[in-house]
């Protein structure tokens, strides 16, 4: 397995979807290829950073607005 193929398998490997011979060839390539190991580390850092982005907060008035909808519904029932 060469670099292009190995790097196309990065997500499959991380997701556990790469098995058998393909997985063995992928692992073997990563063992010997410094640029591919560097790329994989950057890919992993990217995934880490995305996971650490702050969440979107709900506007403070949203819960009251929705509670009002429930009350309206109950009144109409």
């Amino acid at each position: 397995m060469l670099c292009r193929k190995a790097m196309s398998h990065l997500t499959d490997a991380k997701e556990g979807a790469l098995t058998g011979l393909a997985k063995a060839l992928f692992d073997a390539h990563l063992t010997v290829c410094i640029p591919c190991r560097r790329y994989r580390a950057q890919y992993e850092s990217t995934v880490d950073m995305l996971a650490k982005l702050p969440k979107e907060e709900a506007p403070s008035a949203l819960v009251d607005l929705l509670a009002g909808e429930i009350e309206k519904k109950d009144d109409g029932a």
């Binding site: 990065l10 640029p35 950073m49 995305l50 969440k55 907060e57 949203l62 509670a67």
Partner: protein, 206 residues
């Protein structure tokens, strides 16, 4: 799943704390998913507010045949797609599982014949993700990367990596096959890495 059933039942019974819990737990992904479709942040906020009202009004008819999130995703996606089409964005979002495209951002970086790096990646600043994320240009690079992604890649990346959903949850919510979900995720991650490379590689050079 039984957590969801309890929560829904409490909200139906008028429990405002349960409602607040649902909003706190689910609001972030609703906003980000809407943004993947309509792009404009203010319009996405309106889409999500409308979707929340639809969700609450329809909660009595939620039968638990799909997960609560899958059911909510259908509502917000329908709303976002309607708004996107009305706004002239006739983007291919009717089905996320259509053409996944042929836009691997790394394709040009390997030699045609051998498939080895012609443009090997240089190192990055080795600070931790937490430290890097404190830098405005890093956040801006991620934001630009997200803006540039096709809607289906952005939706998958958002739910998987920003919101921490499982692959199965994303496939159910977006109507994707497992393999297409992985292809979209792979391309989206590679595209965001490329944007980050622009701001992090120079730091690594002597």
């Amino acid at each position: 799943m039984s957590d969801d059933a309890d929560l829904v039942s409490s909200i139906r019974g008028g429990d405002k704390k349960a409602l607040a819990k649902l909003v706190a737990r689910e609001h972030s992904w609703l906003v980000r998913l809407a943004r993947a479709i309509v792009r404009d942040a203010a319009i996405a906020d309106e889409v999500v507010q409308d979707a929340w009202i639809s969700i609450i009004r329809a909660l009595a008819s939620f039968e638990g045949r799909s997960s609560l999130r899958t059911w909510m995703a259908t509502i917000v996606l329908n709303r976002a797609k309607t708004v996107a089409v009305r706004g002239g964005r006739s983007i291919a979002v009717a089905s996320f599982d259509g053409e996944v495209g042929d836009d691997d951002p790394n394709e040009g970086r390997f030699t045609q014949r051998l498939g080895v790096w012609s443009d090997p990646p240089v190192g990055w600043n080795d600070a931790t993700p937490e430290v890097l994320l404190e830098r405005r240009e890093v956040l801006a690079a991620i934001e630009r990367g997200l803006e540039d992604l096709p809607a289906n890649q952005r939706a998958v990346l958002t739910l998987r990596d920003l919101e921490g959903w499982s692959g199965e949850e994303v496939c159910n919510a977006l109507g994707l096959s497992e393999s297409n979900q992985r292809v979209l995720l792979h391309r989206a991650r590679a595209a965001i890495r490329e944007h980050l490379h622009g701001v992090l590689k120079s730091d690594a050079l002597p």
